[in-house]
């Protein structure tokens, strides 16, 4: 009986997720340009990727972006959650202000930041006030990726702070009170009570933040066009370009397969950590 309730969702996933995944795997062994029928070429697409310096560059751009965004998120979101968990006047309004951005569109964010990173934009104006020279953030090879990473962090912090906050509020108050009676200071309580009990939440945030950073696409597309010189061409962008600009569907499918294996492996490793962290 229960199966019939799950069936519509399962069918949808089979058609729009699993079948495409298998198709990607199959297509990665073919040469296909959408116009002429696919031609079986064995491992040629994988060889082509391996020999393509742009693919290697994209892979490392993606890795840098993923960890560049998520590691600061883990720490800063936790810091924000701890700040917001304190009793203070106006807490409801303060939370409202911090959580407002979670409702905002990606495209709106991309447009505002492109405007702010303009050579004459707000970021440079503020930095100039502190004596820093103007930088063309999005067109300079060394600054374009960090500029996108900064947006990712700024956008992710409120979201993950909410998850941490829920975890913090699930910790029974008695634990802290008992430790206070025993004379533990705030720092000791954080290390010996909060951190261990929050561990499942921390690991959950680690997995989710990495998974959401690996699929970034919109910001490189509309803000830098993958440039300058490919320094912001993340893997999803590489896949899109190979498939829909150069119509090398087979090679794009091979790149998808590699990306999926990478994400899958990373998730497995993190889930293992989750288990070891005592999470079921």
């Amino acid at each position: 009986m229960g199966f019939f309730f799950v069936l519509p969702a399962l069918l949808h996933i089979a058609i729009f997720k699993l079948y495409p995944l298998l198709q990607a795997l199959r297509l990665s062994f073919y040469r296909y340009d959408l116009l002429s029928p696919p031609v079986f070429t064995g491992l040629a697409n994988y060889h082509a990727l391996w020999d393509n310096p742009l693919f290697h560059q994209s892979f490392w751009v993606s890795v840098k972006y993923m960890f560049g965004v998520s590691v600061p998120e883990w720490l800063l979101a936790l810091a924000l959650a701890l700040l917001l968990n304190r009793a203070m006047p106006g807490r409801a309004v303060i939370r409202l202000a911090y959580f407002f951005p979670i409702a905002m569109s990606q495209i709106v964010v991309a447009m505002v930041w492109k405007f702010m990173y303009h050579p004459h934009g707000l970021v440079n104006t503020i930095l100039e006030f502190f004596g820093v020279d103007r930088i063309n953030w999005l067109s300079t090879e060394t600054t374009a990726l960090p500029a996108l990473i900064a947006i990712g962090i700024w956008r992710g912090i409120p979201l993950f702070a909410i998850i941490y906050l829920a975890g913090l509020q699930a910790i029974p108050r008695d634990y802290h009170e008992a430790a206070m009676v025993d004379g533990a200071n705030a720092f000791q309580r954080f290390i010996h009570i909060t951190l261990p009990l929050l561990l499942p939440t921390i690991l959950f945030v680690m997995v989710i933040s990495l998974l959401s950073a690996v699929k970034v696409f919109l910001n490189p597309l509309v803000m830098t066009g993958g440039g300058p010189n490919g320094t912001t061409r993340v893997l999803p962008y590489f896949i899109y370009e190979t498939g829909f600009t150069y119509f090398r569907m087979g090679e794009a499918a091979a790149a998808s397969t590699v990306l999926f294996v990478f994400v899958f492996a990373l998730t497995l490793i993190l889930l293992r950590l989750l288990r070891r962290g005592g999470v079921q």
């Binding site: 700040l83 569109s105 994400v263």
Partner: protein, 277 residues
């Protein structure tokens, strides 16, 4: 310094940090709003005008004439409402099945659904496009909407919530001769309002914002969504920042209103996803 003074100082520092953080969080939105009411030259004028000298309300009208924005907003609305409705129905059906029934393939079904969290569209872009092409849905509302109708996160959220509903509710209805679908619609759904609300809001937000999928599947101007229209307009005239910001403000308004009214449901939806397991 004695302990008490240290505490007061520490509290002051934390409060200052909290306020500084609000500034960093909200400044870009404030700047967007302020710039949307400036003239094209005033947006880059120094020293900065935080408040426009003369609010240029006309920016909104002239920005909207930069494309078929009426159509784009309408399309975003259609996609957001249709996908949200499909998500709410299909995810709660599946969530109920997984939470309250025992059947042979329950665990594998749940694992398969969860594992699609690792299969975002960005990864399976090419083959998903090919599937939709085979189904003849390129450049149609069906093609925009149907592939997004089930979201693994939604199934997970509903399962978590329904699992905590007491079994006695369902058994009582069954004894009263209620059909299985009747139980779902008359007992389960009314008892999941908080989760349904949270799911609907998050789903509406994500789909109001759809960019990548329409970008691939809707080449005709008639089917473009608001994010596509905005990116297109920016691509044509990237110097007209006052008008780009005006459009961004317009695109932000529906979500800002929803957030102000349903802040708690938003936050609860995100928090629910992080609790347990």
């Amino acid at each position: 310094m004695n302990r008490k003074r240290l505490l007061v100082w520490g509290g002051g520092v934390l409060t200052a940090l909290t306020i500084f953080g609000i500034g960093v969080t909200l400044l870009p939105y404030f700047w967007m709003l302020s710039s949307s009411l400036k003239t094209g030259t005033e947006v880059f004028e120094l020293p900065i005008h935080w408040i426009p000298q003369v609010p240029q309300w006309d920016n909104f009208r002239s920005a909207l004439s930069r494309g078929s924005f009426g159509t784009y907003f309408y399309n975003s609305g259609i996609v957001a409402v249709a996908v949200t409705a499909a998500n709410v129905l299909l995810c709660s059906l599946a969530g109920y099945g997984l939470a309250k029934f025992r059947f042979r393939f329950r665990e594998p079904s749940f694992l398969v659904i969860l594992s699609t969290l690792m299969l975002p569209l960005e990864i399976v872009l090419v083959p998903t496009f090919l599937v939709v092409q085979q189904l003849g849905m390129v450049n149609s509302y069906g093609g925009l909407i149907v592939p997004l109708a089930v979201d693994a996160f939604g199934v997970f959220l509903m399962r978590q919530f329904i699992r905590d509903l007491p079994d006695s509710l369902i058994e009582a209805a069954r004894l009263d001769g209620c059909s299985e679908l009747g139980i779902f619609f008359r007992i389960i759904l009314p008892n999941c309002k908080p989760a349904l609300g949270a799911l609907a809001l998050l789903s509406f937000r994500d789909n109001w914002d759809q960019f990548l999928w329409p970008y691939i599947i809707a080449s005709s101007d008639r089917l473009k969504t608001f994010p596509l229209g905005l990116a297109q307009m920016e691509g044509i005239d990237s110097a007209a920042y006052h008008e780009i910001m005006a459009l961004a403000v317009l695109g932000m308004i529906p979500m800002a209103i929803l957030f102000l009214f349903f802040q708690r449901a938003f936050v609860r939806g995100i928090a629910l996803s992080g609790l347990k397991e």
